[in-house]
Symmetry: C2
Amino acid sequence: MNFIQESNPAEALRAIFRKHASGVSVITMLDSDENPVGFTATSMTSLGANPPLASFNVASGSSSWPALCAAKYVAIHSLTIENVDLAKKMAAAHELRFLDNDWKRGPHNLPIFQTASGALIAKIREIHSVEANAVVIVEIEEGLVGAEGNPLIYHQRAYKTAVEVD
Amino acid sequence: MNFIQESNPAEALRAIFRKHASGVSVITMLDSDENPVGFTATSMTSLGANPPLASFNVASGSSSWPALCAAKYVAIHSLTIENVDLAKKMAAAHELRFLDNDWKRGPHNLPIFQTASGALIAKIREIHSVEANAVVIVEIEEGLVGAEGNPLIYHQRAYKTAVEVD
């Protein structure tokens, strides 16, 4: 076996996830005052087609957590490499995330970033808290389908895109 | 707004997930007779660092589902573009997945594919069934860290890798 054993579980997680590439999404919602809230997520994934479900993970200490617990709907934006600045902004100081003129209200008044390559409008069905984190399960209601582009990927702490090989 | 509204929820999910890129993993376990079982997953994601947690999604109609429900541990393999044939094999006929000489027993007797770039050994903590699917939450015990490589990505029904832009 050519593997090096990493017996510290937290170090093992870090070592393996550094190798793992993730698609990047921006998830938005409204707080109880209908103000926009949102964050960059690398955990969005499909959970099934019938009914159409998706899931994403969030830390329950994150700035968006109180709004997420109260929200009924989310918008899940798919991003292209053109959206790298949006991904960075939505992962930085939360007070600055909706100051620009790059979003409009969409279905259910949700904030929709206009340069995303698309957005799923989804209803929150279940939130499962696990330690200091949670798995959020949503059911898709409809979609806003935008232009094609090269997908935004996060890998080894850098934003990248996907290319075919040979 | 330059989006086209897709009001069919299943079509919306498909349209947006076609744009979304995912990292590719192979997840293995043992059935109740200690035989190897496993599948290719594009849903593996980190759920938190303390304790180190990960999650993945699975259809409860899949061939691996009965073994997963009985299993205590899984091995989550991270793949590189060199592993594209392994990813394809572990998504094809389940009878053929462990016939080659490319795996050995590792911790907890779990099947470990030797050409993967690494594997997390994890204990299953929770399985949340949602419609015909489930979210599986695991806690990392240790890691087997292999060679570096270009990560394997699934996007628009094709296997790709990640590259930095500019």
